[in-house]
């Protein structure tokens, strides 16, 4: 299901008393069902209802990209989506990236190797944008393509150069695996 049709199947008659609706979704591989207010933002749902505070809220108007997550494999700003629209969707957040044993994935490791984060607030959003990009683009991207890939994420600390280096390293280590 494409991102653009998400939420179209929310059934009005499921809206229960006290203005609460039921949503069923899969978050980081775990199936769940929750009763929520229809106005609840997906970002707030993840952070407040599920305790997944790795998804950060930077601007709440869809520009900074800190709240980027994957919805059915595509990168989405969770502050611009209502939780009810995620009904039936598969969600991935930054908490899903490392292995069960705690080891970092390729892009996380490349960030650490290249000093691609300072305060780290914007980092989960970058990681999710890049995760989505790398899944959809197996070929080593050019510098311009890398910049394009992260142009929807603001970072106020690093000046981006080390993030670009990290993406390059992630591609080379992925290709050498």
């Amino acid at each position: 299901m494409s991102v653009f049709s998400i939420g179209m199947n929310v059934n009005a008659d499921r809206i229960e008393q006290q203005n609460v609706v039921s949503v069923a979704l899969n978050v980081n591989g775990e199936k769940m069902e929750r009763q929520i207010e229809p106005r609840l933002l997906l970002s707030d749902f993840l952070r407040d209802d599920l305790g997944l505070t790795g998804t950060h809220v930077g601007c709440e108007h869809g520009v900074c990209g800190a709240c980027t997550i994957l919805v059915n494999g595509e990168s989405v700003r969770s502050c611009l989506m209502l939780a009810v629209q995620a009904d039936g969707c598969e969600i991935k957040t930054v908490e899903s990236l490392s292995s069960k044993d705690g080891s970092l994935n390729t892009i996380q490791q490349a960030f650490a190797n290249n000093h691609a984060l300072q305060c780290g607030f914007c980092t989960p959003g970058f990681l999710m944008s890049i995760e989505s990009y790398m899944k959809n683009n197996s070929k080593q991207p050019s510098d311009e393509e890398i910049k394009e890939c992260i142009s929807g994420n603001l970072c106020r600390c690093t000046g981006y150069s080390n993030i670009i280096s990290a993406i390059k390293e992630a591609y080379s280590s992925k290709n050498s695996q």
């Binding site: 790795g54 970092l104 996380q108 607030f121």
Partner: protein, 784 residues
């Protein structure tokens, strides 16, 4: 013995931040926690006739609605920030006028800027709190609005704060040499006006506060996204009247600061008060619109400047009268304004200098020091003047710079000024001509000049711009460190300056590890918590490495000496004959006979088994407060190569080079990261960022769609070179680096654009150089 200092040690901070397990203020959840939302003024200047909170109070889930009158007798009004008051000798020297102008916690009878807090709603959750905010009705009576500082300082202007008599809040003058006679000797003078606009630091994490009061022990626990937790603690204690030791302020992971979080805000006082009042935790997280409106802005200086020089390019004198539009309040005395005055001459010898600064109040958000704090404004003035002098004399601007540099043999160089900390401003060391040479070599200056001529014939406008800075870094009054070894043999270093991206946990552990001869993995650095040390200052003004780094070094060294003394007792060997390495102490002659740090730590405990030499206090801990004798002067050069699209006015940065001196480099990767990030913010200031108010004092740049923060598309990879003149003013030889990157880009890029457009003789006197502005200048030039 530096094994780790100077190395690219990977950051200890990264794992939690990469896995989403860091804890920022908004991530804190407590049982029974309520959430607050704030009603803010929609008027820039108005009387408050009435506030009706009745509907909001009745709204389901609302716990409390407070307005200014509810705080009377409970929360005292702010004072000015005593931390920023002038030292007495500086005050005697410049005899400034500084009127007291603290801000109210909540606006009572009058609002003075859009975004000023009027009422706070506490509810069961944020959604309900915001619903209730919308139910509050405020009746305003609009007053005339001042947004132009020149209008504001006129005698007939409406006065924003009646008790100040007019809108000129501060005034000072600095004089060096004899300006009049120098002007008489000049071959040329240039008079111009140069402006650095209002900008916003915009850390990606907004402000936020969580407070919890525990009745059993009378403990107030506050988490705040701040650069200065000790300052927050001190003001809560003073204004809510609490025993200071009963307050613990923690700055957990903080998502960037850059200056705007280097202040105490009303929310940091009132939210803790509300948590005490209702005996339940209260959380307030600022949203981005609130941030744009109410988190303090910066810069906003206009300089009317005149320079006198000889036909060979020697600058004889400079006089300047500048206004700093500080918005509706100023709690920072002369901080940024005096920084501008002290730094304006930069690395140039200008023996006759006269500068008058006025801080003017308008109906805008108050200002705070932001990365560079008065230096970017000063550098923009000085380095634009260098290019204007070169234009006038028809020589390359590089020649004008070279002609006027302070020479290496003149170091240490007495500037004949006081610094803001009350000490004589003396540049300790450096080689500026060599720094410029290095920068020009990297960029290929001569070759570029050739290329530029060729490209111009093809109708391509490329230009090169240079800018330089000196920066007093690592200001006092002090910063402390406790270094101790726990009973498991692990080393801990606690410091008072709390980080927000600067990598303290890594770089300070490198310093400590080298003293003990262990790996940084065996050292844990803790910061950002007022329970760690009795006193602390904070992370701002490029001071972390200088002040906290030095404190850690001295405390580590002293603890190492103590451990050697204890080991001497244990091994019955003189401490001088012992070696400490890899967590063990052993006689130099017999490495197999060792005691471990853990064993020494246990022997340091008081009691009958103690091996602490007589006359020495038991314990495995040393506290040291480093008190810098004065600031250390970092310096640097920035060179920008840009291309201007004449049709659109769009500026592309083709190359950016930085040479800098921050003394000893503790971790090159971290230092380079600070510079690259600073340059990105500077590029924002040069080309994109400006806080704009309309004539009614309405903020028209309230979102990231209007206030443009550079993305990866706009920021080039900066090429860097280092000079490493160790500062004699601290034991590790460091100078601060946090702000330097952000200081020069407005000047270097403006100079590069002017250089590119030289055939049209375009002069850029303000930033940001947005396409529409540059296009206007191009059209104007073409029409002439």
């Amino acid at each position: 013995m530096s094994k780790y200092v100077g190395q690219n040690v990977k950051r200890k901070e990264d794992y939690r931040l990469l896995t989403g397990t860091g804890i920022f203020v908004a991530d804190i959840r407590l049982d029974n926690m309520a959430e607050a939302a704030i009603l803010r003024s929609t008027y820039a200047h108005a009387k408050i006739k009435n506030i009706d909170i009745s509907k909001a109070k009745e709204y389901e889930g609302v716990i409390d609605v407070v307005i200014a009158s509810d705080l009377e007798g409970k929360v005292k009004p702010f004072t000015e920030f005593v931390e920023f008051t002038l030292p007495s000798n500086l005050e005697q020297e410049i005899k400034p006028t500084i009127k007291r102008n603290p801000e109210p916690m909540l606006a009572k009878d009058k609002v003075t800027f859009v975004g000023q807090a009027i009422a706070i709603v506490v509810a069961n959750n944020r959604y309900l709190a915001e619903d209730a905010v919308a139910l509050i009705k405020v009746e305003y009576e609009p007053l005339p609005v001042l947004t132009d500082p020149y209008e504001a300082k006129k005698e007939a202007a409406p006065v924003i704060h009646a008790e100040l008599n007019n809108n000129i809040q501060s005034h000072f003058e600095v004089k060096v040499g004899n300006i009049e006679s120098a002007f008489r000797q000049a071959d040329y003078t240039i008079k111009t006006q140069l402006k650095t606009p209002r900008v916003s630091g915009n850390p990606l994490e907004t402000r936020g506060v969580v407070a919890e009061y525990e009745e059993r022990s009378s403990q107030l626990q506050v988490w705040s996204s701040t650069q200065v937790p000790y300052m927050v603690r001190s003001y809560i204690s003073k204004l809510v009247n609490l025993v200071e030791d009963n307050i613990r302020v923690v700055a957990p992971d903080v998502g960037g600061g850059f200056g705007p979080k280097c202040a105490v805000y009303p929310e940091e006082i009132v939210i803790p008060y509300l948590a005490m009042k209702h005996k339940r935790p209260v959380k307030w997280i600022e949203d981005r619109l609130e941030h744009m409106q109410s988190t303090r802005h910066s810069r906003d200086q206009v300089h009317d400047v005149e320079v006198a020089f000889k036909s060979d390019g020697t600058i004889l004198a400079l006089k300047d009268h500048f206004l700093l539009d500080n918005g509706a309040h100023n709690s920072f005395a002369l901080c940024c304004a005096y920084n501008s005055a002290a730094h304006l001459r930069g690395m140039y010898k200008i023996p006759n200098y006269n500068i008058v600064g006025e801080i003017v109040l308008t109906n805008k958000t108050p200002n705070v020091p932001y990365r560079g704090a008065g230096r970017p404004e000063a550098v923009f003035v000085m380095d634009r003047l260098i290019y204007m002098i070169a234009d006038k004399l028809n020589v390359d601007p590089i020649e004008v710079s070279r002609k006027n540099f302070i020479q290496p043999e003149e170091m240490p160089y007495e500037t004949d000024l006081f610094y803001r900390d009350g000490t004589h401003m003396v540049l300790e060391n450096g080689d500026y001509p060599e720094g410029l040479k290095q920068a020009l070599n990297i960029v290929g200056y001569e070759q570029f000049r050739q290329e530029q001529i060729e490209e111009r014939t093809k109708g391509r406008y490329i230009g090169i711009g240079v800018s330089s800075y000196i920066e007093g870094t690592g200001i006092g009054p002090h910063e402390g460190a406790v270094v101790r070894v726990d009973s498991s043999g692990h080393i801990l270093a606690y410091v008072g300056s709390s980080p927000h991206g600067q990598s303290h946990e890594t770089t300070l552990s490198q310093i400590c590890a080298d003293e003990f001869g262990v790996s940084p993995d065996q050292v844990t650095v803790k910061a950002g918590d007022t329970s760690l040390l009795p006193y602390g200052v904070g992370t701002f003004a490029s001071r972390g490495a200088v002040t906290a780094g030095s404190a850690v070094q001295v405390a580590s060294k002293r603890l190492r000496e103590k451990f050697l003394a204890i080991a001497g007792e244990m091994l019955e060997v003189a401490p001088n004959d012992l070696e400490m390495k890899e967590g063990k102490v052993y006689p130099k002659a017999l490495p197999s006979k060792f005691v471990t740090l853990r064993e020494i730590a246990l022997a340091a405990k008081p009691g009958p088994r103690s091996k602490v030499p007589e006359g020495m206090e038991p314990g495995a801990s040393v506290t040291h407060y480093f008190i810098p004798p004065s600031v250390t002067f970092s310096s640097g050069f920035h060179v920008a190569i840009v291309e201007v699209d004449k049709q659109t006015g769009f500026v592309t940065i083709l190359k950016y080079v930085v040479i800098h001196d921050c003394g000893r480099v503790l971790n090159p990767m971290v230092v380079d990261g600070q510079i690259q990030g600073g340059v990105a913010q500077g590029i924002g200031g040069a080309l994109y960022e400006e806080i704009i108010y309309d004539e009614n004092g309405q903020l028209v740049t309230g979102t990231y769609m209007d206030y443009l923060i550079p993305t990866a598309m706009e920021v080039p990879v900066v090429e860097m070179g280092h000079q490493e003149f160790l500062s004699p003013r601290n034991p590790i030889g460091v100078k601060g680096v946090g702000e330097g990157g952000a200081i020069c880009p407005p000047a270097s890029i403006a100079n590069a654009v002017c250089d590119a457009m030289k055939p049209l003789n375009i002069k850029i006197n303000s930033v940001p150089i947005s396409p529409n502005r540059l296009r206007d200048l191009i059209q104007l030039a073409e029409a002439q």
